[in-house]
């Protein structure tokens, strides 16, 4: 390949807001529930029903806008987007086209290439649709409106990204900001954060953009990265073989690692947007905006500085722990209970992250409680259990959030501090391993490690390691 190509990527990110009730009615937004139980005349589009805007949606949307350096449209309004599909009970979606609530923002990302600013074109508010359930057995399709009317914001970036790495960094940045705001849990797998990728390629140095495609159905960062690589290669192949890229929407199949054309621009629908007459324009007064601004939480940089100052954490620790809202929350709550910040930090950065990686657990899915981690730290610190036992117990806490006090008691995991018992076990170990004893006496310091190990094994891991060392040396 002689020519060099540049990938140009813009993102449309949908985020489900964490309000208790839906955007235009008072139905619950709780996940799950039997089909059509979180519904009312409004979110099922019954004739005569009317929408009433949930104020919290405006506050969350404006808060995300402020956190992404947007200009807030203080006089904004909703529009109707008209299209027929059964998941949409009114056959129009209430969204924002003409006056979105936030415009002209940006976030800074950092990749191996360094820092970069990604522009945000706009953020608008809209309602989610219901879900179609296809019953193959009966040959019918059913619709569940529990999700209908769940509030969403759509964050539309500028076409400022050039690689999958930048896209992931941008998404992680958005996710972190939004999670810090408490505006959403941003779970890609569950669909509370969804990203559509607009991608085109052009020769390096070209000033015009190439023809772009839009890719949907991307359920994880890995899928997004694979889809970007796949689509880039597909477009370059087309261009290299003298064909044209068609402007279209494509659906990514992550298992086949291939995308399929869903619809082209020619059969793109005309949504016939017009101002929603059932809702009055939204006026965000200066006072209201000030209140939203004042309620902004401490973001990562401030938090990081505070951790170093208030808890005396090394910068490295503070950086990693504030990298995710959930870790920072766990850190603060656990530290408040046990008053041992560095120990808490060690558990989070060490065992917690090891297990997360091993079991592919996302930080927002961590289940254990600060109380149980604090108890474990106390147990280890008091010498009630030794380090290895502590790790073993932590795995249980990580998986099932068990109470470590109770668990240690029930499983007899307390460290044996009884000198008599230790001494007789060690004497037996020395008798059973004359070779190691000889090695030790011949100057092989390492041999003692083996003898400690044998003692621990004999004591089922519960021996106090300091005491074992001390008695061994004495007996040898």
């Amino acid at each position: 390949m002689s020519k060099q190509y540049e990938t140009v990527i813009g993102l449309e990110v949908h985020v489900e807001l964490a309000t208790k009730t839906k955007i235009f009615c008072s139905c619950s937004t709780a996940f799950g529930g039997a089909p059509n139980t979180h519904t009312c005349p409004v979110c099922t589009g019954m004739p005569g029903s009317l929408p009433v805007l949930n104020k919290k949606v405006v506050e969350y949307a404006a808060a995300v806008g402020l956190a992404t350096n947007c200009t807030i449209t203080q006089n904004c309004k909703f529009d109707r987007k008209n299209y027929f599909y059964p998941d949409n009970p009114q056959n129009y979606q209430i969204s924002q086209l003409y006056l979105p609530i936030c415009r002209n923002g940006s976030v800074e990302i950092e990749t191996e290439e360094g820092k970069k600013t990604i522009g945000i074109h706009e953020i608008h508010m809209e309602e989610d649709a219901g879900k179609l359930v296809h019953d193959e057995w009966e040959g019918v399709s059913l619709v569940d409106y529990n999700r209908s009317g769940v509030p969403l914001i759509e964050i539309v970036s500028e076409p400022d990204m050039r690689s999958a790495e930048e896209v992931i960094a941008y998404l992680e940045k958005l996710r972190m900001l939004i999670q810090y705001l408490g505006a959403s849990d941003c779970k890609l797998q569950e669909g509370s954060m969804r990203a559509d990728v607009n991608l085109s390629v052009r020769e390096v140095g070209a000033t015009e953009f190439g023809t772009r495609t839009e890719m949907k159905n991307l359920n994880s960062f890995k899928a997004i990265a694979r889809a970007i690589e796949g689509e880039r290669a597909r477009q370059i192949d087309l261009i290299e073989s003298g064909e044209k890229v068609v402007q279209e929407t494509r659906r990514w199949d992550d298992t086949k690692e291939y995308s399929y054309a869903m619809r082209s621009k020619e059969d793109a629908q005309d949504y016939r947007y017009f101002p929603e007459p059932d809702l009055v324009p939204i006026v965000i007064s200066d006072e209201w905006l000030d209140e939203i601004r004042a309620a902004q939480p401490e973001f990562r940089d401030e938090k990081k500085a505070r951790y170093q100052k208030e808890y005396d954490l090394p910068e490295y620790d503070a950086d990693i722990i504030t990298g995710h809202k959930k870790l920072a929350d766990l850190f603060e709550a656990t530290t408040a209970l046990c008053k041992k910040p560095k120990k808490v930090s060690n558990w989070l950065m060490g065992e917690t992250m090891r297990l997360m990686k091993e079991q592919s657990v996302e930080p927002e899915d961590l289940k254990f409680s600060p109380g149980n981690l604090a108890k474990l730290i106390e147990l280890a610190d008091a010498g009630t259990i030794n380090g290895n036992v502590a790790k073993e117990v932590f795995e249980k806490i990580f998986a099932e959030d068990i109470d470590p006090d109770q668990y240690v008691e029930e499983h007899g995991l307390k460290t044996v501090n009884d000198e008599g018992a230790l001494r007789s076990t060690i004497e037996q170990v020395i008798r059973d391993n004359p070779q190691s004893v000889d090695d030790y006496h011949n100057g092989k310091e390492k041999a003692i490690g083996f003898l400690v190990g044998q003692t621990m094994k004999a004591m089922k891991g519960k021996a106090n390691p300091a005491m074992v060392n001390q008695i061994l040396k004495e007996l040898l």
Partner: protein, 487 residues
């Protein structure tokens, strides 16, 4: 005097005094319906036994002192585009032929709280689109003054039911004149309040930014009383307005001394029937004799109201009616292949010609490339019309004119020429575009004995001005009696 000759307020008073009962009133209405309904077709849904049962319930509560509202025991008819819990609500469309709402509209609830007793649901132009009540899927309603003529529309069933004493009063809705014009054709009093005064919750939308519910009644006193009952601030309707001044009956004063009344010259020009014109000017004269200061002025922009209205109302309707798709409720075509075929067949079979025409018109004006040229321009026109009224109301308390250019046309004469039918809305439509209150009061009959209506228009939230003028005018003359309205 027959009980049917009583006004709603008069009947309520008699019931309170124990001189009549809700059951007697309902029985009288039912007897009247049985007598005239075959000819008139005012009702889409009327269940005699259920109506009687409701009247018995009401009477029990009245006697127990639990139902004390201003309309306690008075039978009312409701236009069939207002949801009534457990009672079929069709919008006179095939597509909602089997639709039974799970809740009642706020206006109906307010009426029930005040003690009114539901008779049934009145016929209308399908989805309130029409000016004659001929576009109903359930047959046309006839004018009780002359059954060869239309009652007007879209609240034609409502207006005819009042004129023919098939009820004591009615609720209608008015998007472009749908209360005032049929009231005029049927010789009754009809009022559209300021946009936002009566909750639209439960009103099946036609043009959301223009729709308002209002009363059709035998006189101005009834009208003011009913409006006082149905107007309320409703959190469920974001366009509902919190008002402190809804004690409309206070304006029932026979005094217009010093009141400034303007007659738009633009309303008296070409197209206005001579007899109607004379009756309107005679009514103005009456008010002048009573001390009002009456003068003619140029309102301007009148000819732009109709195109602006048909663009805005149709655009909103094309979206509002999208939910009638055979998926969730209402009519679904019998045989179909796949989703899109189901949509197409259901809507093709379920909607009538006028509704389809407006859905197509509305979809067209919202299409990409046409939005600016049509919809946006219509919104600007709407704003200019409002400004023209604002200027007028700097000078006048009330604007006076006809409600319609002619008296009720013959059946079958209007639908053949929709443009002409649309032009008939010329005096009522701009009131909706500007969100103003308007009332029509009978002001005589033409040579063939058909009623003529006088329209009085007020500034936003100034219903009291037009109620006062209408009441004062009403006191100056006896209304003609509708031949079919006699018991």
């Amino acid at each position: 005097m027959s009980i049917l000759d009583m006004t709603a307020v008069g009947l309520a008073k008699a019931i309170r005094a124990g001189e009549a009962t809700a059951v007697e009133a309902m029985e009288a209405v039912i007897a009247q319906i049985e007598k005239t309904e075959k000819e008139l077709n005012c009702y889409v849904t009327f269940d005699k036994e259920a109506a009687l049962e409701r009247a018995r319930e009401a009477q029990k509560k009245i006697e127990a002192g639990e139902l004390t509202g201003p309309l306690a025991g008075v039978p009312v008819s409701i236009k069939d585009n207002m949801c009534t819990e457990g009672i079929k609500t069709t919008c006179s469309s095939k597509i909602l032929e089997n639709f039974v709402p799970t809740f009642s509209s706020e206006a109906v609830k307010n009426l029930e709280k005040a003690g009114a007793v539901l008779i049934g649901k009145t016929n209308m132009d399908e989805f309130a689109m029409g000016s004659t009540t001929e576009t109903s899927a359930y047959g046309a309603t006839k004018n009780p003054w002359n059954t060869a003529h239309v009652p007007g529309g879209s609240s034609g069933g409502a207006a005819a039911s009042v004129a023919a004493s098939e009820c004591f009063f009615a609720l209608g809705s008015d998007t472009g004149g749908s209360i005032r014009q049929p009231a005029s054709y049927c010789g009754v009093v009809g009022m559209k309040p300021t946009y936002g005064t009566v909750s639209r919750y439960g009103l099946i939308a036609y043009g959301s930014s223009l729709d308002q519910i209002g009363p059709l009644a035998k006189d101005v006193t009834d009208c003011a009383t009913i409006l006082e009952v149905i107007s309320s601030y409703d959190k469920k309707d974001s366009t509902s307005v919190k008002r402190e001044d809804t004690n409309f009956t206070e304006a029932l004063v026979d005094d217009v001394a010093g009141m400034k009344i303007g007659i738009p010259r633009d309303y008296l020009g070409e197209g206005l029937d001579e007899e109607v014109k004379n009756a309107i000017l005679a009514a103005a004269k009456k008010l002048e004799e009573k001390g009002a200061i009456v003068e003619e002025f140029d309102l301007s922009l009148v000819e732009y109201a109709i195109p602006a209205y048909y663009v805005i109302a149709s655009a909103e309707a094309s979206s509002n009616l999208a939910r009638f798709d055979g998926v969730k409720y209402g009519y679904r075509t019998k045989e179909y292949e796949g989703l899109h075929n189901m949509y197409k067949k259901t809507r093709s079979e379920g909607f009538g010609a006028e509704v389809k025409r407006r859905i197509m018109l509305g979809s067209f004006v919202l299409s990409s490339g046409y939005y600016d040229a049509y919809y946006l321009k219509a919104l600007r026109t709407k704003a200019l019309i409002k400004q023209a009224f604002d200027r007028a109301f700097e000078k006048y308390d009330v604007i006076l004119g006809p409600a319609a250019p002619t008296t009720a046309p013959e059946l079958g004469k209007s639908l053949s020429d929709p443009i002409k039918m649309y032009l008939g809305d010329i005096y009522t439509i701009s009131v909706n575009l500007a969100g103003l209150p308007g009332i029509t009061v009978p002001c005589g009959v033409d040579q063939s004995g058909l009623p003529i209506g006088l329209q009085l228009i007020g500034d936003c939230f100034k219903e009291k001005n037009i109620i006062r003028a209408a009441y004062a005018y009403e006191q100056s003359r006896e209304f003609e009696k509708c031949p079919l309205g006699e018991a």
